[in-house]
């Protein structure tokens, strides 16, 4: 029998794993191992101090160094990260936003050192600042300055890095913060328009070349579990982007109007309970962004099945990579044209999404655009509202989550046996080691050259000159991330984004249980003589504020008075607010894993202010074994992200306050 010629296949998407931790050297070993296993690109995670422009020895960096990514302070860190990895042959994606120009400058100085041809460099800098204000939290400067900075990177790439994606506009984090598909499309496109309009208005790119700039715009999407709708969303994205390119920017070449996007499928929906089910969720979510050829992702990152539990190990990441490889190489998916071509069902769904998204986009543009809608709090308020709706649906069972609010009974999982020990944990010694490496570098470098480069950077900032060139000179001279960021802070100032919780409407259909909570809050308030007052604090650099926001809104709806000051507070600030506001309980939300450092510091601050007996509750991913290492007398409750029953959390807060004040509410226990 004659062997059949295998059918022609489309090339698969880029397969990446978002990773980086501890140190540049450690991450380098991980990258080389992943490349050896067939991974085709790198996706670099930086730690929070790097993302927010602080050196590892800054006070706000405490507890965060090397935790969620690699610490990147100097050109030597970049050299260590890419040891034996030639950047010219790499496709490197960097999740960096506020200090994009700086980190790219470090990368370019390394590329020069390796003798690479800059015009051949491939990769992506995320460089998307608006979603940082809305959901991810690693912003530094005010919105208008930030948009200007993003534009600097785009203009530099246009002139020098023709194969680089200078910006990756993200809808990913908007979905994590609660965005529904219509909001995701509208907010993201409004963001892209805002950036492009600003670059065009700067006027230094000739009009005939502007389509090239438009053509380098890339997007980073999320894919949720409703995968048919998600696929329609992606197709709507493509169509609306094409229209914007044609009508707003006059791009005639269809190749430059392509909606180029990468995906990380949804981590938010991954559950802590029965975590093995997450593999199924990851696969279905993945289908949403690869099934339709005309709207297929160009790169895909899959989370690990156990991400809701802790930092995945190499084996966990390998499993997610294999899922992609099997779909690309074993199945027949890549042999077909778009399999949804002509489907009336899909067409109708798309029409619904598109009409609504277009209307929402126009509303934002009428407001004055994305920056205006950000500054006036509109975008954030919409997200907090949608997220409250989502959580309410899970709470009431209207939205099914298998193993969590339906089919909850299950066998003990062999995968999770002894999991606490099987996680990758970042050794606390890492922070001190990294500080030592940084300080050794500082003392070794040519101080005069550093001062000269920083001085030049300052002058460039005030004269509006070439920021990228000045930054590359800084990188080569030995300037650090903190020093570069401070120079920009001194010119642009810093920013605190709207928390979005103030204008959120009260939750609908309060229900019997909610009325019981309100009643108990009233009872305890009457006994206290003042309304139950709750301070919600987010210490450290962790910007993931969805949980804190939802608790704030819920507590307000439960009748409490809530003080919430947003993200990135020092322990001292939180303790001081607790004192000045006379609160009855403090809730701390920490998702970055730095609780061991930050929680004791807050509690010490409270004690110093005579608030030794003030009860504290925690929210976050806090392993049992860590609790014994914290001041247990003050910590009255710990809530995990899996505790989606917000009413129950409210009841427990009432219990905590009652107990701390010797109030007996037994007659009205729910």
């Amino acid at each position: 029998m004659k062997e059949i010629e295998p059918p022609a296949k489309d090339p698969p998407w880029l397969m990446r794993t978002y990773s980086g931790y501890a140190s540049a050297a450690e991450s380098n070993r991980l990258y080389r191992a992943n490349l050896a296993k067939g991974q085709t690109g790198l996706s670099i995670a930086f730690d929070l101090p790097t993302q927010t422009g602080y050196d590892s020895d800054h006070i706000l960096a405490r507890g965060e160094v090397g935790k969620l990514g690699v610490p990147m302070r100097t050109r030597e860190d970049m050299e260590a990260l890419f040891d034996q990895i030639p950047v010219e042959r790499m496709n490197t994606s960097m999740t960096i936003n506020a200090p994009t120009a700086w980190v790219l400058a470090l990368y370019l100085s390394l590329a020069r050192q390796q003798g690479a041809d800059l015009s051949q460099l491939r990769g992506t800098t995320q460089n998307d600042i608006l979603k940082e204000y809305l959901s991810r939290g690693t912003y530094i400067f005010p919105p208008k300055a930030s948009i200007r900075l993003a534009g600097e990177v785009i203009r530099y790439a246009f002139h020098h890095l023709p194969k680089w994606n200078p910006i990756n506009i993200c809808s990913y984090h908007l979905q994590e913060s609660g965005a529904e598909p219509v909001q995701e499309v509208a907010f993201t496109l409004a963001n892209a328009v805002c950036v492009l309009d600003a670059v065009r208005a700067a006027g230094d790119i000739p009009a005939q070349d502007f389509p090239q700039v438009v053509g380098r715009m890339a997007f980073f999407l999320n894919a949720g579990i409703r995968f048919i709708e998600e696929m329609c969303k992606v197709r709507v994205f493509s169509r609306m982007w094409d229209r914007i390119c044609r009508e707003r920017y006059g791009v005639s070449d269809p190749g430059l109007r392509r909606f180029r996007y990468g995906v990380q499928v949804n981590s938010l929906g991954l559950t802590e309970r029965q975590p093995e089910n997450n593999i199924a969720r990851i696969i279905y979510e993945f289908l949403g962004v690869v099934l339709s050829k005309s709207a297929r992702a160009r790169s895909v990152q899959l989370p690990a099945w156990n991400e809701a539990l802790g930092l995945p190990r190499k084996w966990d990441q390998q499993w997610s990579l294999r899922i992609q490889q099997i779909l690309a190489h074993e199945t027949d998916l890549l042999e077909y044209e778009d399999i949804f071509e002509g489907s009336a069902v899909i067409g109708r769904k798309e029409k619904l999404l598109e009409d609504a998204a277009q209307a929402e986009l126009e509303r934002i543009l009428e407001m004055g655009g994305a920056v205006e809608a950000l500054e006036n709090g509109y975008l954030k308020r919409c997200l907090v509202e949608s997220n409250a709706r989502r959580i309410r649906e899970i709470e009431t069972g209207r939205r099914v989550v298998v193993g969590v609010n339906r089919f909850e009974e299950g066998e003990p999982s062999p995968l999770t046996a002894g999991l606490d020990a099987s996680f990758l944990t970042v050794d606390d010694a890492v922070e001190n080691e990294q500080i030592a490496i940084l300080r050794a570098f500082r003392s070794r470098r040519d101080a005069g050259r550093v001062a000269g480069a920083l001085d030049h950077l300052h002058r460039t900032l005030s004269s509006g000159g070439e920021l990228m060139a000045a930054s590359i000179a800084c990188a080569e001279a030995g300037v650090t991330t903190g020093e570069w960021s401070d120079a920009l802070r001194s010119v642009y100032g810093e920013y605190r984004a709207p928390t979005g919780v103030g204008g959120v409407a009260a939750s609908d259909g309060a229900g019997e249980d909610m009325r019981a909570v309100i009643q108990r809050v009233r009872q305890v308030s009457d006994r206290l003589g003042r309304n139950l007052k709750l301070l919600i604090g987010k210490p450290g650099l962790d910007g993931h504020s969805n949980g804190a926001e939802q608790i704030a809104v819920k507590a307000r709806d439960a009748g409490m008075e809530v003080v919430y000051e947003g993200i990135r507070l020092t322990p001292e600030q939180i303790a001081e607010s607790a004192l000045q506001e006379g609160v009855h309980v403090v809730g701390l939300s920490i998702l970055s894993g730095s609780h061991l450092k930050l929680v004791p510091e807050v509690i010490r601050g409270l004690e110093e202010r005579g608030l030794k007996t003030l009860p504290v509750v925690l929210g976050g991913i806090i392993p049992e074994s860590d609790l014994t290492k914290m001041p247990q007398a003050s910590i009255k409750r710990v809530f995990a992200p899996r505790d989606y029953h917000l009413n129950r959390i409210m009841h427990e807060i009432v219990d905590v306050v009652a107990a701390a004040n010797g109030i007996d509410l037994s007659a009205v226990t729910p």
Binding site: A506, I518, R556, G559, E561, V563, G566, E572, Q580, E581
Partner: protein
Amino acid sequence: MNLRSAGIELDGILNAQKTAIAGALNLLENRRPAEEGLAAELIEALTRHARPDRHVIGITGPPGAGKSTLISRLVREYRSAGRRVGVLTVDPSSPRSGGALLGDRARIDYDPGDPGLFIRSMAAGPHLGGLAWRTRHCLSLFEAAYDRILIETTGVGQSETEIEKVADTVVYVVQPGSGDSLQFMKAGIMEIPHVLVVNKADRKNLALKSYHELQALAGAGRRADDGWIPQLILASALEGWGHEALAAALERHLDFLSSGRLNDLRRMHRVQWVYILFVERFGSYGVERLGGERRIYERLEEADMSNPLRALQELAEESKRISQKPGC
């Protein structure tokens, strides 16, 4: 129970020690009847020690006008001049649950280690008028501890008339293009504030339009009650200008009051405070029983205002006597 045994340290308060201030605020906000005697005693002591050079400034205006940002700037201005600053901010409460999100603190830029600055957020509760039920109680504390006291109202608009009865100086903040919010001033529902600020004046054209609208209003002449000519200020928090002019205008108004009716004004505010407390507790029926609003004001104008809660108590007792009279 006396103040000391209740843990209230008057010396600490007068020295603006933050733990002492916080503890006293918790007492003053307490609504249990059992605490009232203590609160009355504290207010009387605080009144004796009110700082002679203090200035109580009310900041009002529609949501989004940038009141909190302006307060941040004023705080910095006052702190660098070495003045102690107390800030009271009021947010609306949900009528359904009674809960509130106290968001102003997040918008004020401050140094938590600053010993001469204290910020307290309050929920308005069911109280209308732009302030909280206990804002005045807390103000009496701040008057004994701080040189400059800033009160930010709920910012819900037309009903915010109460700040006039509390602050020495009222600042009204608008953002460019918000002409609607001026309607109630034009309609005479509210007296023209002492100082008008067009914030976010970096938006040049719109700001100019608002400026002219306000100028037409302010230029209508001196205020009927005190003859003060309202001041008009342009400011931009973004570009960092205008707040010095605002601080200067505020000082001018304080000087103007000091050489005139400041003491009468403050006494009048206390009379109004007692009246509002009375209405809050006994309602309009109670007012009628004592012969009506005017009669009560006449009585209070003769009363000792160093202890408003005692004056209230006296009114309450009289009300009780009348209601027990046969045939009433």
